[in-house]
Symmetry: C2
Subunit: 209 residues, 2 copies
DNA sequence: CAAATTTTTGACCGATTGGACAAACGTTAG
DNA sequence: CTAACGTTTGTCCAATCGGTCAAAAATTTG
């Protein structure tokens, strides 16, 4: 489907980019149904009919946004390789995911919103591309367990726990800030989180000795 | 504010309960702005004007729902005591939270939705009641660390990680199911999760020996 | 430049939504 | 039974929403 690549003028490329940036801001803050075309148009600095000249329907914006998101969002997991030291590999995967939560919180929230609503628009991708990728990486992790490089557990739930703990700092940011308060909730909270998660996934909570 | 307790007839009590149950279903699936009074009314088996006789505004339903939610939602953390063995206390806190994700996924999603949107309606509670409770329990945990009962880490981030990992199974349920597939995504996934989380929080991933 | 094409805008439309209201209908207490 | 009160419904309204359209303005092309 979708035929050949649609030729786009310079203005079209620029304006579409502008709209997608504005839509990311609005959608991630209000969800799909909670966002209006007017809001996006205003955030993009143009009129509603003008925006609709570049994207015919509200859904088209969301769809385009979602397609782009998924590629970058799964990049860290794709990088998880069999070549390095297992424990180091996992540690840097966690670090990369936490950095994404810090640097792209809007993308994380957009994704969370979609999943929360039952993933109506990306269900096929979850069952297809995503499942395949996770199964593949789970196999790699299982290999490490068999080789005695890391403790034996469920690789799938391990991946879930990494997703959950890292994305929490983007998706539940307001709660994290509120609980930590003005002093501890500042810029340092991601470093604190990184240190904590490293210890958790490495040694757990059992006291040494 | 809110004066004395509003007397309610038997019918009022029943119908309000019915509406709140229906609203929980609808709100948790579609978010606040994504839900319509008509949907809630239909789910509650009554007409829209009839529903509006019991709750004057859509927001009133949401507010009532949210107030009730918060009490039950924080109950597990409130139970975290200084009396038992620290490691056992933490383990049963994790278990209770996971059970809540299993038994009350709609409540979890309602809460997640609210936080994702920036917690506009419960911000004071987060900075007040919630922060106080967490700080209090963080102090308890710190005591355990000082006593050498559990490893030294950041108690706040420890609590966050427990929230994140357990609620993940409610909020991201569709994703979890999609990735695990038909066989592994069935009823057993919560027991698998429980086993995994126990090991993670106890020993981490470092191989034994 | 001028014609062709692309971009922008204001005005408009039908559908949906939250909510108001008065009238009809039930229920209950005296 | 009946009057008072509580409940339910049909109808209606103003606001908002996603989206259309034709015409004006700007840009590109020859």
């Amino acid at each position: 489907m979708e035929g050949s690549a649609p030729r786009r003028t310079r203005i079209q490329q620029e304006k579409r980019e502008l709209i997608l940036e504005a839509a990311l801001e609005v959608f991630s803050a209000n969800g799909f149904r909670g966002s209006t075309i007017d809001q996006i148009a205003e955030a993009a600095g143009m009129s509603k009919p003008n925006l609709l000249y570049y994207f015919r329907r509200k859904e088209d914006i969301h769809e385009t946004l979602m397609q782009r998101l998924l590629d970058t969002w799964l990049a860290p997991l794709r990088e998880l390789d069999d070549i390095g030291d297992p424990m180091t590999e996992l540690r840097s995967y966690i670090r990369r995911k936490l950095e994404m939560a810090r640097d792209f919180p809007r993308e994380s929230r957009l994704f969370a919103n979609e999943i929360l609503q039952g993933a109506p628009r990306i269900m096929p991708m979850l069952e297809g591309e995503l499942k395949t990728l996770v199964d593949e990486k789970a196999a790699v992790i299982k290999g490490w367990m068999r080789a005695g490089k890391i403790a034996r557990t469920d690789p799938w739930h391990l991946i879930f726990s990494i997703w959950a703990t890292t994305q929490h700092y983007a998706d539940f940011d307001v709660q994290v800030r509120a609980v930590l308060g003005a002093d501890r909730g500042g810029d340092g909270r991601f470093e604190d989180a990184a240190r904590f998660l490293e210890q958790l996934f490495l040694d757990g909570l059992k006291p040494k000795g």
